[in-house]
Amino acid sequence: MTRIPAQNDASADLFAPYKPIPDIYDELHDGSKIRPYWQSFVDGMRDIGAGEFQRRWQQMQKVLERTGMAYVGAGIGSPEQDRRARPWELDPLPVLLPAAEWEQITRGLRQRGRLLQLVLQDLYGPQELIRSGILPEDVLFRHPGFYRCFHGQNPPGNNYLYFYSADLSRSPDGNWWVQGDRTESPSGSGFALENRIIQSRLTPSLFHKENVQRLAGYFMMVKEAVLRACSRVTNPRVVILSNGAESPNYFEDAYLARYLGYTLVEPADLAVRSNRVMLKTLGGLLPVDVILRRPNSDQCDPLEISHSTGGIPELLQVCRMKNVVVLNPLGSGIVESPIFMTFMPQLCTHLLGEPLILPGVATWRCGDPDALKYVVEHIDNLVIKPAYRRRGLKSPIYRVRQDGDREKLIRMIQADPHMYIAQEQVVRSTSPVYSRKGLRPAHIALRSFAVLGQNEFEAMPGGLVRLTGELEPLEASLQVGERSKDAWVLSSAPIARVSLLKQPDHVVELKRTGGELPSRIAENLYWLGRNLERADVTARILRTTISRLTSEEQLSEMPEVVILMRTMAEMGIIETGYGVAEMRMQLPPIERSLAANIFDEQNPMSLRSIVTQIFRLTSRSRDRVSADSWRVLHRVDQSFKPPSTGYWDLSDCLALLDDLILDLAAFSGIISESITRTQIYHFLDMGRRMERATQSSKLMRNCLVLPSGDLTAILEALLEISDSLITYRSRYLEEMHLGAVLDLLVTDETNPRSISRQLAQLLDHVNDLPNVANHAGYTVEQRLAMSLLHEVRMFDVTRVRAPDALVAGESLHLLLQEIESLLPKLSDVVSQRYLVHAMPQSHLVEIRP
């Protein structure tokens, strides 16, 4: 009797049909069989089954997409349409590395880190390597990244290197090679961590069975390294200095900031005052002790590097005075230029008295005549690269692809040989990549990470595996659309748990304030609040209008439609022409053009533009909003799109608007409920109240201007837009009465949609602003908010009569005018006092002799 397989074997066992590429090292398969250390993983996968694995992976991808957990921004310089953030693509099969092999890599990374540290200490110190000729002087003096002002900084422990990365590749003989050292500000450790979290959730049983070494320990060492670097301060304020929301590393920086518990800042959030670096917060300036640096060294201090812009003037001088620690210290990036790879073997022998454990790919310096001769002779088998690299810029790679290239390439090198190096190419190893159709081999590169520990560099057990179609070294920062994998370093023994949480007996100082909120974040949240409300009211007007347009009645029987169109035109939601009767005749009928108006990305006031703005503002505050609220918002951004058929049906729009209004309500709800009632909440909610009061006033003014005929229809539309129709009916049944409507929408403080309610809440927020408590008497913003609320409270709705309610000079008209003039003033005062810290900075006129 034969065994009956549970499922079709071919689909159940992913790994059986896998075939590596001949003559290339494959991580999984040695050409005849699966490598022994993979066997247990492969068995485990077979137990899960291909079908189940596929199901889990699909589910996980949905989760990933919704949470936006792993997101990567586009690179600087990429086309505008690619600038939006995109999902970071993970391949669901990790690369396995046996413990012994990893131990060797770790020893190699430690040694290289130590060596580069010594080289940096020398170049920024006595320069003995150059004086003695171990390093040719032109390597340093032609280096465009060798800024003389970084020399002699003497950072803590004289260490110029705290975070070190190496890009590793495995050649066909199975040996690992360093393709590039990264010392400026290596990125990717946050992505490695994200990949690990996703991967371990996908195959938790395998993860535990295989005794995979944990990454948390590495991040603990990062925190310890930070503390050691500023040992003078007991409770240092640590910030991660990012390049801003537009930069490719922003999401990773935000993720690391949350994970490590540091404040995420941008250069404009920091300033030097009295020889200290200060963080500009709502509560004032707070001293910063440690800056984990992302921008390149030459973008950090425009005072010292006068051709640079941005950055923090005088930062370097504060570093020299040891009043702040920047990690990596400024200037650390010079040794990541490939020209240094030429000298690594000699430097290792000279400085450490031992050979390199982890060698780099063979590199020739074209500035050396002998090397240049070799390069010219062997140019077909080499790649040519600029000798000096600037992190973040994609450096070109030249090689002979066809016969005609050869002479051109040689001429290019000979024109300025000092500026080029040549390298051997490594044919990278492959590892299986998953797809629904099965596994296929893809080339991999491993970015490893190391941090300066107590005595030596400590490597992360694992790293970021990047999948590449190309064989070239991965040059610029992690690219959009690039796929990655988790790297599992196996252990023979079970793994002890490590957590970033402190020991239970650690006493925590309780805090209730949010005074440390960077002003920029408060500004983002304020505008997020305003845009949320703007989107809500816009969607509601559109919905009310469309529900009329799609009803059975004739347009001529619905006088409110014309008024609503005029209102929307006035508010900029649709083309302004629709607000004027004569022009309306020239335009396509509103039923046909409304959808196009909604999704008009050229119009900043269109609903789609407002939604995009909300998404952008939330992205910029990623480290402040919860994963749930992000998930809702991501859904809105993805689903609020014109129908792909290109056919505009108003009823489709109505469904989209219904969803949008619900999602926005959910987003507002989650964001309000998940934020503590500290400054961060005040600014978000202040934005919402400000916008809701403004929009309500505008809406009323536009709807009630010389209304023609029966008021009933327009009052009903107004109540519907203001989400107060049900309340009204419960009070007054079907009868529409202007005074009663105005009471509900303007003066009734129990109605969460009324203007007076918004103003009352605004006053509460203003009273809670940081500066108010120290101020004798009332502040300007308090006076403005009180005056607004007072005006509305004193307003007598019973005196307003149709049809001249909004005739100029009448009480309602005067009130709305007052509201619309005072609210912007209040907004300006609050922005200027709390939000606008970042004035443009510029260089003084240069003096020309």
């Binding site: 002087e137 032609r142 003389r148 010292e304 001088q317 900075q841 260089h843 003084l844 020309r848 002799p849």
Partner: protein, 319 residues
């Protein structure tokens, strides 16, 4: 020769600036050819502190910040300095030998660093050609450098409107006009392209008033020239291509660097301030009568004065 030098820079803003960070290269150093007797720098409004340090090239720099709102600032540096008379140079090594010594690392590293291109001085092939015209075979370095100085003076037109600090050297060389900073860059570029260490010198120049006119306070300007390393024995020797002279007792050295960016007298970053205007006044006042002109330009001729240059009437020699 002793001088009192006052270098006063005034900035005025159209709107108040909240913060200004500044870095100054205004400290006149004591060198082999000059001794500083007194120095002081005064900033208005008064900063909380002024910090000094020595930069990579050995210049002393000052840092200060104004962190209260201000509508402008005035920086006044005053020095009293004695310049040693120039010792005539009887003979100098041949330039090719020096270039070979540079290649063979016979000079200290502090000198060799000036062999390389810098941000504003690319070693253009056209500069090699230009240099070769003066640097003929086996020529003594001082003689050749003086000819280069003379050639720049003759070939280039002084025009303070033709270039800005951002004009690349390529354009200066192509169009053959500019100011002293550009002429210094041309000379440095040619020397480095020939394999000779050359550096940029910022400083001051004593100027004579037009005949019959009194000396005007503040009429002078800061100046720049180049310096070439003439071997371990002779050291650095300075040439002023704007005035076709070897640097003598009329020149006061302020700072050394690879090009102007290393020694910019005032570097500053201001927050706010709207549009800004700047005024610079330099006043080089002799403290004793000027001795008879020495053979300071290696040619036996007295230094030519600005007034005699047709293309730079009145006060072209400084700047």
């Amino acid at each position: 020769m002793r001088y009192q030098v006052q270098h006063k820079t005034t900035y005025q803003y159209s709107e108040p600036a909240s913060v200004a960070h500044n870095l100054l290269h205004l400290r006149v150093p004591t060198t082999h050819r000059q001794t500083v007797e007194d120095f002081g720098v005064i900033v208005e409004p008064k900063p909380r502190s002024v910090v000094t340090r020595t930069d990579y090239f050995g210049n002393q720099v000052h840092y200060f910040a104004l962190s209260e709102p201000h509508n402008g600032m005035t920086i006044t540096a005053t020095s009293r300095v004695a310049i040693r008379p120039v010792v005539p140079i009887a003979s100098s090594p041949n330039w090719e030998e020096l270039a070979a010594q540079g290649r063979n690392r016979a000079f200290p590293l502090e000198v060799r660093q000036f062999l390389f291109p810098s941000r504003h001085i690319r070693l253009l092939p056209i500069l090699v050609e230009y240099g070769k015209a003066a640097f003929t075979r086996n020529r003594p370095i001082v003689e050749a450098a003086m000819e280069l100085t003379t050639r720049i003076f003759t070939d280039y037109k002084y025009d303070s409107n033709a270039t800005t600090i951002n004009t690349p050297l390529e354009d200066v060389v192509r169009q053959r006009h500019g100011v002293c900073q550009d002429f210094a860059h041309v000379g440095i570029g040619a020397l480095r392209a020939l394999g000779l260490p050359a550096r940029y010198v910022s400083g001051y120049l004593r100027t004579e008033p037009p005949p019959g006119k009194p000396r005007l306070i503040g009429a002078d300007a800061s100046h720049a020239w180049f310096s070439v390393f003439c071997g371990n024995e002779l050291g650095w020797i300075d040439f002023d291509p704007t005035n076709k002279v070897m640097v003598g007792t009329d020149h006061i050295t302020l700072a050394n660097g690879r090009d102007f960016e290393d020694v910019s007298p005032i570097q500053g970053v201001v927050m706010g301030g709207g549009t800004r205007t700047m005024q610079v006044g330099v006043d080089v006042m002799p403290l004793e009568a000027k001795p008879a002109p020495a053979a300071s330009n290696g040619t036996g001729q007295p230094p030519s004065q600005a007034q005699s240059q047709s293309q730079t009437p009145n006060r072209g020699q400084a700047s």
